[in-house]
């Protein structure tokens, strides 16, 4: 196969099973989001008043950090494909670092809200806020385990599997794009 043909060949990044999982998760989260939007339209004043207690700048910061993590894990995949395993490992660790910054910042945001008196049972908006952000947080925690698998793969020449690394990256990107939607619905919409 020539280089040009190889570059233009179509391929599924990672294992197809992971893509089935990604599409399933996307549908499940879409259902959560639709329930949130319906409930929101039934009590718009309450949702707007509670939403005003969230800091949009914090939401933007979280989004930028997760976008950067998606970028670095995409670079990890490309570097591994080019057999630049050192660069791939560096990018995998960089992704973990961005993920950790998100994790710490999210915990601080939760702690601040609880300190201000906005807990899970305060009102319907905050019930959705904690539910959606917590279920996303759980996916993020699983993502650290998935990234550890990618690093484990990259660490030893005997274990390196491009498909496994791409599968891990696909999972991490899912954590990112689900947050993009959560950000729009919790912080921006009115």
């Amino acid at each position: 196969m020539t280089k040009g043909t190889a570059a233009s060949a179509r391929f599924v990044p990672g294992q197809p099973d992971m893509w089935a999982f990604v599409l399933f998760e996307a549908l499940v989260f879409t259902a959560y989001f639709m329930v949130y939007v319906v409930r929101r339209t039934q009590s718009p004043d309450l949702f707007l008043a509670s939403q005003a207690h969230l800091d949009l700048r914090v939401g933007v910061f979280h989004t930028l950090v997760l976008l950067a993590s998606s970028w670095s894990v995409a670079r990890c995949v490309k570097a591994a494909r080019a057999r630049s395993y050192r660069a791939a490992t560096t990018n995998a660790f960089l992704t973990m670092l961005f993920g950790f910054v998100f994790l710490v910042s999210k915990v601080i945001e939760w702690a601040t809200k609880i300190e201000e008196g906005f807990g899970f049972t305060s009102d319907e908006f905050f019930s959705f806020y904690y539910f959606l952000t917590a279920i996303h947080f759980l996916h993020l925690l699983i993502g650290f385990g998935v990234l550890a698998i990618a690093v484990h793969q990259l660490w030893s020449p005997a274990r390196r599997s491009q498909e496994a690394i791409e599968t891990c990256a696909t999972y991490w990107h899912t954590v990112d794009f689900l947050w993009v939607l959560i950000f729009a619905l919790l912080y921006v919409m009115r």
């Binding site: 976008l67 794009f177 729009a184």
Partner: protein, 87 residues
């Protein structure tokens, strides 16, 4: 280079959302801001899927399935918002 351009575009759109979200009138529902937020979020998701997740190099079936989900999510979310507000 393409990955960096995608990141820059996604970051610029996100920062622009900061401006839109900070507009006056946070005490009243706003269909334009809500529609914009949902559509922009779905555009960002499509960029992530195509550029970072390499769906643009994937078989046509995967491209179609991801696009179908984006359309379903958009129709579902906007439909819920406008029908819910009308009730």
């Amino acid at each position: 280079m393409r990955l960096l351009l995608a990141l820059m575009a996604l970051s610029a759109i996100t920062i622009a959302q900061l401006g839109v979200g900070s507009l006056d009138g946070r005490d009243a529902p706003n269909a334009a801001i809500t529609s914009g937020a949902i559509v922009i979020a779905l555009v960002k998701v499509r960029i992530i899927l195509r550029e970072f997740m390499e769906v643009r190099h994937a078989p046509v079936l995967l491209c179609r399935l991801t696009d179908l989900w984006i359309v379903l999510a958009g129709v579902g979310l906007l439909g819920c918002y406008f029908v819910g507000m009308a009730l």
